[in-house]
């Protein structure tokens, strides 16, 4: 490398870039720190501190961007950007990771010796997510996606004593790599047609050639795989069910939020408006498949997996609305709000399942929740709150998320789609309510649940945090909307 390029590299890395990438760098340093703590016997006790500290410092940097009037914007040769939206996404990723980790503390019994590796992998995941939503270049996005996916592949298979977990890991790895390959191939085609990989460049380029359209379709397809949209949703139930539950929480919320963030902010403006009806139909079919699939499940984890598919369908309707001419900033804000609410709700719901499993339940059958309202009113109350939020009942964030999503559709003039979507979400309430029915309205089963193991306090705190955020997103939306308005 000549001296000039090195100098140029330093020139690129200006003040704005350092502000924008500070959270990412913090995570990188944090992972190393964590590993050091793990190696040095005297520092082992500080591992938890290292994990939380890293997240909190990164959170501080994100909040700094969120609170600033002047945002870094496009940095690093226009490959990465940081503004209020990405900062809010970043905060959500970091909090989501912290929550998933909190639930994982008491979760692993058999694989306990490997818990540090687990934590290190988990700590790396939000870096990938933040890179994804901030990416303004297809290659940067690809790096972010891999940075997120590789830890998740390992984490999915982490409960090695269980065959389902291993199966989940392998399945996720194979199909995920396939999706990554599609993304790369799509990027290559787009590059062939336009000569650029940067999103701002692509916005100016002519993308009407068949090569470019095929490339964009492949990129969209790989994103659809990541967010589990029909017809790329088949892997979801198996992988979600087989993975260790705290990992499922991270997978279901983080991946979806990051991929949708990039899809709506960067890819959506590239897609031709004529594709909007196709995307809308895909969204509706995804909602229908997710909801109908969830309706027949007797396993809660599987049910929540299908419910995640349905939520992806709703967000895809937002993408369709944005393609059809709705205000792009409105679509991005709607996606963001929906995801903020969903991350806390779903993490909480999966987390409570993790608690149940840690208490000895081999499977997360719906019936094992019977009479929970009586035996553990706190857990049942939190679960009921999360179910109502997933179902979009007011006073919870799920409602406002749905409100904003439908607003985008109305903005785009897609009234019919909005009404069908609304009716499909009625189906969803069918299974969310069933969980509440089982907990509150059916007597406890004869088989007594296994005695409660020592439950770490972190899980309780995590549940409270999720509950507070679910209610805050439902009652005080200005808290989350105000930074975006500027």
């Amino acid at each position: 490398m000549s001296q000039q390029t090195v100098a140029a590299a330093f020139e690129i890395f200006d003040d704005a870039a350092s502000v924008a990438t500070a959270p990412l760098l913090t995570i990188g340093v944090g992972v190393l720190l964590y590993l050091v703590c793990d190696i040095v016997p005297r520092l082992r006790a500080a591992r938890g501190l290292a994990f939380c500290g890293t997240i909190l410092v990164a959170l501080f940097f994100e909040l700094r961007i969120l609170g600033a009037d002047v945002v870094p914007g496009l940095v690093l040769d226009k490959t990465f950007h940081a503004d209020h939206t990405t900062a809010l996404f970043g905060c959500v990723f970091l909090l989501g990771t912290l929550l998933a980790w909190a639930y994982s503390v008491g979760y692993y019994h058999a694989s306990k010796p490997f818990k540090p590796e687990h934590d290190a992998l988990m700590l790396g995941a939000p870096a990938g997510m933040m890179l994804m939503v901030g990416a303004n270049d297809l290659i940067v996005f690809f790096i972010g996606l891999e940075l997120l996916s590789l830890p998740l592949y390992c984490l999915a298979a982490f409960k090695r004593s269980r065959i389902e977990s291993v199966e989940a890991g392998v399945k996720y790895f194979l199909l995920g790599s396939f999706a990554s390959a599609m993304l790369l191939y799509g990027s290559a085609l787009v590059y062939t047609a336009s000569g650029t990989l940067s999103i701002p460049g692509l916005l100016d380029a002519d993308l009407s050639s068949s090569t470019a359209v095929a490339g964009l379709a492949l990129i969209a397809a790989s994103l659809f795989f990541k967010v589990s949209v029909f017809p790329f949703h088949m892997w979801v139930p198996d992988v979600y069910q087989g993975s260790p539950t705290p990992v499922t929480a991270l997978m279901a919320t983080g991946t979806k939020a990051a991929a949708f963030g990039f899809l709506v902010a960067q890819v959506m403006p590239l897609l031709p408006p004529s594709g909007a009806p196709i995307v809308a139909v895909l969204g509706l079919v995804t909602m229908a498949l997710g909801n109908l699939g969830a309706l027949v499940q007797s396993d809660l984890k599987r049910m929540l997996a299908y419910s995640g598919v349905a939520h992806a369908g709703t967000l895809l309707l937002v993408v369709a609305g944005g393609m059809a001419g709705a205000d792009a900033a409105g679509a991005l804000n709607a996606t963001l709000y929906y995801m903020v609410a969903y991350v806390f709700t779903a993490t909480g719901a999966f987390g409570l399942l993790a608690l149940m499993e840690a208490d000895g339940a081999r499977f997360t059958k719906l019936d094992s929740l019977r009479g929970l309202a009586k035996s553990r009113p706190g857990v049942a109350g939190a679960m009921a709150l999360f179910m109502l939020s997933l179902g979009g009942i007011p006073a919870t964030g799920g409602f406002l998320g749905k409100w904003f999503a439908f607003s985008v559709l109305v903005d785009a003039g897609m009234i019919g789609t909005a009404i069908i979507g609304a009716l499909l979400s009625v189906v969803a309430l069918g299974y969310y309510l069933r969980v509440i029915v089982v907990m509150y309205m059916q007597p406890a089963s004869d088989v007594e649940p296994a005695p409660t193991t020592q439950r770490p306090m972190t899980a309780g705190i995590a549940t409270i945090v999720c509950g507070v955020f679910v209610l805050a997103t439902g009652l005080l939306p200005s808290l989350f909307l105000a930074p975006l308005a500027g």
Partner: protein
């Protein structure tokens, strides 16, 4: 701070407070719930006395910014806006004074999980009051959906044998309607860039007619399901029958009124033009509801189900009166909402008292009850007569005004409605005969205890109101006069405008198009 904020949130504070009381001390829980609801009732009476019925605009307004949404062209402020006017005052006060009665009536049948019951009851009260008091579309929807959840629990936990089926059916039916309404509501807010109800009233005409039409029907669907108007009535019979007595009283007394209130507020007041254009649809559905509900009631063998079906019939009257779109019709309908709450509430209380003693609701298990429970019989006959519309009691005033108002608009549907009065008398009196009179054939019924002081105390205030409305309805009608007069005038103006518009259309366009229009209007 406005009194309305206290009325809405005091129940919620009460619910939070009760949640921290010990679950085993049911006596304390009952007293606490009674205390909170009584306090709210006193506030309701204060509101009543300070409310000026001659003013059309909302009173006791309270407005705070809540959040802002960017919709299309500009930022729309969503506000926390409460206010009470002649359309809502009766229902608000009814909700506040019915609640202590509901709490007292829970004594006999709510014996387990008492704490949860009162928490949900109070949350529901807050939700219902919020629905009637909201002057912002989003806030209204917020309370509308929130009020669903408590009833879902009340029916699902303390209900009868088929409670799970009934409660899920109730929830899904209502939610299906409200989600379609949500899309319509967003489109309305988006189209007019405002979520302020008072601002939107009078501006809906700015939207294209096609948009107005579908938004109107998206609202109407949600409310029609809630009322319920004819094809959507099946959830009601199940929910009513399976709900515990106190739940049924609440359901009949207030919850169904959310539907008729919505039809009046968001159907007629918000879209007067659409209401005029499509009034015939609702007249037909209302009249059919009256007759069909009455036939359903006649065919029932379960006393509680019979009362539930009678609700369909009685609410048919309310819908008929509302969409007659004449002044007496609308005022009668608003009064009839209260009447139905009182009479049907009483009927459910009476059915509940009998059920607690006999553990059956089957009509053929009764007969001759009057000989063992004479006091009960007095109240039963009184309530049945009030429900059937005996002159001098409340039902008569409401039904008379509705029918008179409907006759002005459409003699045919008024005539159909009148048959409902007759059928109503038939099924109610038949039920009375089968329960109270005849020989006391069942041995189990021979040792029934008559109603006690508490039960009389619960029913007495409602009976007093029944007589009061029957003898001196103006006490209540005057409170609604200002708002409803203004509303009726606006609707009348709209009707004249539409007719003139059609007339102009006939003159301006050539003959063939005029004939097609004439055919349509026929």
């Amino acid at each position: 701070m406005s009194m309305l904020v206290w009325i809405t949130f005091l129940p919620l504070l009460g619910a939070i407070g009760i949640a921290f009381l010990p679950a085993t001390n049911t006596r304390l829980l009952r007293q606490a719930a009674l205390g909170v609801t009584s306090l709210v009732a006193v506030l309701g009476l204060f509101l009543w006395s300070s409310f000026d019925g001659s003013i059309a605009e909302p009173q006791h307004g309270f407005v705070r910014d809540w959040f802002t949404v960017a919709l299309g062209a500009g930022d729309v402020p969503i506000r926390f806006a409460l206010g009470v006017d002649g359309i809502s005052i009766l229902l608000v006060v009814l909700t506040t004074i019915l609640m202590p009665i509901v709490v007292l009536s829970s004594h006999g049948h709510i014996e387990h999980r008492v704490k949860e019951f009162f928490v949900w009851l109070l949350v529901m009260q807050a939700g219902m009051l919020g629905v009637f008091l909201s002057l912002d579309l989003v806030l209204f929807y917020f309370f509308w959906e929130v009020s669903l959840v408590p009833l879902y629990f009340i029916v699902g936990i303390w209900g009868g044998e088929r409670r799970l089926y009934a409660t899920i059916k109730f929830f899904l039916y209502t939610v299906a309607g409200s989600l379609v309404m949500l899309v319509g509501m967003i489109a309305l807010i988006y189209g007019l860039q405002s979520s302020d109800l008072m601002d939107l009233i009078g501006r809906t005409g700015e939207l294209p007619v096609a948009t107005q039409t579908w938004i109107f029907f998206s609202f109407a669907l949600a409310f029609a399901i809630k009322v319920p108007v004819l094809p959507f009535h099946t959830w009601l019979a199940d929910a009513h029958t399976e709900a515990p007595t106190s739940g049924s009283v609440l359901l009949a007394g207030v919850l169904l009124k959310m539907g008729t209130y919505g039809l009046l507020r968001f159907g007629i007041q918000l879209f007067p033009g659409m209401a005029v254009s499509y009034s015939s649809v609702f007249l037909v559905l209302g009249a059919l509801g009256i007759v069909y509900g009455a036939f359903l009631a006649m065919a029932q063998t379960d006393l509680k189900r019979l009362v539930a079906c009678s609700s369909v019939s009685h609410l048919g009257f309310v819908v008929l009166g509302l969409f007659a779109l004449t002044e007496p019709g609308i005022r009668g309908a608003v009064l009839q909402m209260v009447n139905h709450g009182l009479s049907t509430g009483l009927l459910f209380l009476l059915v509940g008292m009998l059920y607690e003693r006999t553990h059956t609701r089957m009509l053929d298990r009764f007969g001759g009850i009057a000989t063992v429970m004479p006091l009960y019989a007095i109240f039963f006959v009184f309530t049945v007569l009030s429900s059937a519309g005996l002159p001098g009691l409340n039902g008569f005033v409401g039904e008379y005004m509705i029918l008179a108002g409907t006759f002005e608009a459409s003699p045919l549907w008024a005539a159909v409605g009148v048959t409902g009065v007759i059928f109503g008398a038939v099924y109610l009196l038949m039920a009375t005969r089968r329960v109270l009179f005849g020989a006391l054939v069942h041995d189990a019924n021979k040792k029934l205890a008559d109603i006690n002081a508490r039960e009389i105390g619960i029913m007495l205030p409602l009976c007093v109101l029944c007589i009061w409305i029957g003898v001196q309805p103006n006490t209540f009608l005057d409170k609604t006069a200002g708002s409803l007069d203004a509303l009726a005038k606006r609707v009348e103006q709209e009707r004249i405008d539409q007719e003139r518009g059609q007339a102009i259309g006939r003159i301006e366009f050539d003959a063939p198009s005029a004939t097609t229009e004439g055919e349509e209007s026929r």
